[in-house]
Structures are given as C-alpha cells and as structure tokens.
Amino acid sequence: MATRYLLGNEAIAHACLEGNADFACGYPGTPSSEVIDILRAQQERQLYVEWSTNEKVAFENALGASWSGIRALCTMKHVGMNVASDPLMTSAYTGVTGGFVILCADDPFAHSSQNEQDSRWYAHASQVPCLDPSSVQEAHDMIRDAFSLSEEFGLPVIVRPTTRICHSKSDVELGPIGTEHRIGEFRRDPKQYVMVPAHARVLHTKLNEKQEGIKKRLVELGYNRYEIRGETAIIANGVAAAYVQEVMPEGVSFMTIGAYPIDGEWLAGFVGRHRKVLVVEELDPVVEEAVRQVATATEVHGKMNGYLPREGEFTPAVVAAALQASGFTPTRIFPESPPVPGIPPRPPILCAGCMHRATFYAMRKVFRDAVFPSDIGCYTLGLQLGAVDTTICMGASITVGSGIAQSGEQRDVVCSIGDSTFLHSGIHGLINAVYNGADMIVVILDNRTTAMTGHQPNPTTGVTATGEPSGPISLDAICRACGVSFVETVDPYDLPLLIETFRQARERNGVRVIISKQPCVITARRAGIRRKPYAVDPDRCTGCGICRAFGCPAIVFTDDHAAITDLCAGCGVCADICPAGAIAREGRR
C-alpha cells in the first residue's frame, strides 16, 4: 500500500490498473478526460487503450471487449452518456461477461458543460447499478471493485463522480497493480447477444428479476450505510456527504448513499426511525424522491420543499444554510462575504496565435450579416468575437445550420465545427445537408487535435492514443465523399487567401465546405515550432484600434497606441489587418 497525493482522475486511472482492466477507451470530455490520458501514458500495466471517435463508439467497443471476456473501462462526461445511451439501454438486457465499468463524470454548476444533467437517471432508466463516490479515496475504491461487481451481477456498472471528485486532489491509499490478464475470446450465444424481439423479451424479464438482489447486495457491500445517533437524520450522497460532515452537529443520524438502486425496505427502516430527515444531494432529487416515497410520519426536507437549490454545486456554506433552515444547528456558520464589485472580468480567451481567431475574423469580414451556428470546442469562445450564434451539443452546428437554412431564413448560414467534433458526430449532418439540398457554408476548424480537453489525438492527428502512427484521415476526402463539390482547404494564417476563399464560397450555392487548417498553437509550440514574433512600429501606429478589436491577448494598448507583448506566437494575422501597415515581423523593417 502506498499513499500518494493524486487528482481524482489519477486515482481512478490507478484503480483500473489495480482492478485488472485489459481494455480502456473513451471520448474526451471535462471532467473525465485525464483518466484515459493517464492510462495511455503509464507503463505499469499493459492494456489496450484507445481514444474513440465518440462515446457510442467507445461504449460499443468496450462492450465487445467485455463480451469477449476481458475487463473493460469506458469513459465519458455526462452529456457523452446521451450519445452512448442507445447501447446502454440494451446492454442491460444482454448483460456483460468481463467486468464492464462506465465512468461517467457529472458537472454540477456546468463548469465546462452545456447543462447540469444527472447521470443517475440513466442508471435508473437502464436498470444498471450506479456507484456515486463522496471522496477521491472512495472513487478509487469503487472503480477498483466495480469490475468484480459488474461480473457478479452480469451487468455494466456506471461510476459517476462529479467535478469536485475528478478535479480535486487528496492523499490516497493505493493498492498493488493487478497482475491478472485475460485474452478475449468471443463465445457465440445468439440468445444473449442477438437482440431480436424473442430474445429481448426473455432478457427483459431476467433484468427485472435481478433488481431486488442488487439492492440488497449494495447495502451488504457497505456502499449504502448509516449510523443512528438521534431522532433526526441527514441523508447525503457524493461530495455533498463530505460537506455535510464538515458542518453536522453531534446527535444527528447520518446515512450515506453511495450506490443505486436503493433498497426501499432498508431505506424505509431508517427513515421511519426518525422524526425529521434532511436530504442533501447535488443535481436532481433522486435520493429525495426515494425518501419521500417511503416516509410515512417523518418530516422530509430537501430540494423539493426549497431548502436546497436545484441548480449549481453545493459548498459547506450552502449545506450549513440548509441545516439551519430545517431546524438543525450546524457546527459552523458562514458569514456573508461578497466579492468586491466592478473588477474587470477575466474570462478564458482564445490563445495568442490561435487559428480560430483568424478564421472567425475572415468569416465576419465577408459575412457581416449571417447566421453562425457553431459547436463544442475551444472555438465556442468565438462567442466573444460575434461568430457563434448557437451551441447545443456535439455535432449540432451543421444540423442546426441546415434546419435554419431550410426554414426560409434569407441570410447566409455559415457554421463552424472543429475537426474532432466533425468526426464525433458532424459527418451525418453533412451528408443530410447535401442529400436534402441545404444552402449553407460549413467551416471545419481543423487544428489537428482535440484541444479544449487537453490535446488528445484524433484521426486527423496522425497518431493513436498510445502514440502509434496512424495515417491522418483526409477531411477533404470525407467531405467530397459526402457529395460536397466546393471543398477548399486554406491556411488561416494566410488571411488574404482565406478572405478570398470565403468570398468565392459566398457566390456559390448548395453545401460549401472550407477547411481552415493549421495546428493548434499550443501543440505547435510543444512540437518545437517557433515563429518570430511581430512588433508595432509606434511611428506608424495611428491608434485606430482595429487590432484591438481583433482580441488577441498579445496586443495591448497604452497611451492610445498598440504594442505586442511576449505572448506573440508569430501568426502574423494582425499585420494583415492593420490598415496603417504598422505591424511587421520583428527585425523586418
């Protein structure tokens, strides 16, 4: 046993090695991405690791591995589960052979997400067990044990940590790396694996019959547990259980829910022994609904009667306030401490030299009044540049765009989508737009990586997750194969050419694709590419502010004149937009 200071996701990755996983895959998504990143970089245990092209692809890959008898992990963020939910629902019928663990990370407060959905509902809907850790240590222990639990029940097991587990650190006790390896061998069994109606009906009954046993077992295993300390009680799950322990007074009973489905009889026994119960859980009132179902004479407080917020994430202060409101005496009261008002905001911005900024600049220059559907990636920050009108989910730029174009909207529709997102779920939308004759422009922002989540490789990068060469896929060839005749690939650092290409595209009809291609400035720097920085000639600068509006963090304005700082990555786009010709590569005048 060794104690180390680890990020939740590092502890989770280590637990997979301890749990004898032989297969790991996923699609990057904050806050889940580091797990596969660590597994692909480690040398301690040999296992197959891949970055898949989307979550459904990842899920089905892992399911195939599990059906072949080996232990498999599949990772995603909560909204990735929406993509993977099709195989999830039926894999509960077919069951699994090798332990199959789905790591699905939820994001209360939507720190890095488009919504605050609660993955526990997916476990409920599919009737598979779900583990819900309240600390980094527990996340580690649950993942390690989830593989054998999955084999015991013959079902996939969902583990759903939240952001404050995945991206928090703690001293963690680790176990030894597993030394057992299996080699996959698929055993033909159509009644198990071929879901024609006759087989599905039988397996649905079997799935329902498993449920009572699972509920009892999750209590036996100690995932759901309590201590009786008085006639009032608090029930909590996930990281909220840690906040409760920080402020809970003595003499109050405490139940921790760490796994679902919850045994109703067991829960009723606990609730019935108390006069009053407060349920503390982030996201949706899943536990609270279960408590209210079994409470007869017990007074129940929680989200459903407004004692806790239904949105956002909790803190010890939020929990202490709920304790007070429901008549408990928290051990700590947190006085109001409001921030100083009026401080200039510092939101995240596109990097100096980012190819997205140049592309958006050219797009806005040519299309002053158009509709700009966009997608999910660093380029969503194009919102600050007026280049993003819609973002809903992965791949929805092209599809929402074609819908707008077919709606009778008279303005041009120019949508933007990154390379990884295009390969995730953009291609179907492109085929659909071409097939149905939509009139629109699709801009593929091709920076050759999955940048936002930490530069994971994808099929355009040229290497696999483990660094094996894998010939980069041609986005041009894909678009042409989808039936697009206007496909132009342009280097966005060549601003005049990019503007000219947008103008040509504007004059054509049908679906037109512009691939704006330039490596992400961060990966380029890591690969050793150095471009000479640019500088402003103070005598020529007229202080017009056009470069300022470009929004590059390397451009500052002092005394009504522009200057370029050492953040400059040397892309040179600002030299092309300066009307006074005042910007040039350093030492070039």
Partner: protein, 192 residues
Amino acid sequence: MTFDILIVGVGGQGTILASNVLGEACLLEGRTVRSAETHGMAQRGGSVESHVRIDGRHGPLIVPGTADLLIAFDLLEALRYRHFLQPGGKLVTNRRIIVPTSVYTQKIDIPDEETVLAALGDLAITAIDAAALAAEAGSPLSQNIVMLGAASHHIPLSPDSLAAAVQRCVPPKTVEVNQKAFGLGRDAGRRH
C-alpha cells in the same frame, strides 16, 4: 482544524503546480490534505483558483470569508478573490497585473497597481515583484515557486518539506532554478 490556502492567478501561471507542491509537502509531513482546482477551458488565460486545505479530511472547497491565506500570482486577482479571506487572514501577492484582454476589447477601465494595492491596504499584505525575482532565479516560469517561497512564512509546513516538495514536483531540469526561486521568494517575503 484545517489551514485553508487559496491560490489564484491567470490560466498558465502555474497555480496547479504550486498547489501540488503544498500537497506533496503535506504527504512528506504525514498530514492529510484536500484540494480543488480549475481544469479545462477555463485555463485558457482565464481567472483560475486552487483550493488547498492542509489537514483537510472532508470536502476540498474553501468558503468565502474563511481562508487563512490567499496567494495571488496577479494583483488584480488578489482583489477579485480577497473576499475569500477570513478577518485577520494573510495576503501574499505579486505586485504586477496582467491586463485582461477584455479591458481592450470592451474598453473597460482598469485600476493601476498602486490603486489596487491601496484597495487591499486594510489586509495583512506581502507584495513582491515575482517576475523580477524569477528572472533573477533564472527563468520567468519560476514565478509560481517565488510566490510559494514568499508565502512560506505563513504556511504551517516546514521550509524543508516545502523545498523537498518543490524538488519532487518541478521538471528535473528546472530543479536548481526553482530551488533558487523558492529561496529568493522566501527572502523577499521575510523583508515584509
């Protein structure tokens, strides 16, 4: 009781590495620790925060009004997060401001460094020039370790554990520079 430290700065300044040093130092002293940090897109030049709770056993989050120590890698961020400090809490800050791009694109007025320092004047404050000290140490990238050195007087971990943790956390080639940075920061922190 925990000792709660909030480290704030601008994405890219190395707040996560600084919090790793504190966590490793806790392990070296056999103490528990909980922390929380900003990952993902917020790191792209945005305002970032790392919570570190020495002797923490429960959650990783520090509540506003309760931090024992605020370490700010940027003076404007010191002002943005000062409400996290408890009455009597200590502030150790860099004297310099990285001007947010929003100031230029949205034409927002930004207070100068003297004005911000005056607005923080009611606190127990140590303000140092981290960039100058990092340059003296041999690398502008060592500003985060300079700041930790300056704050080390207020952290309930021994300087030896902190120095050993620096050695564990930084890239091997930069150990010497960072150890010098820690020492220079510690000297600068003592003078205040």
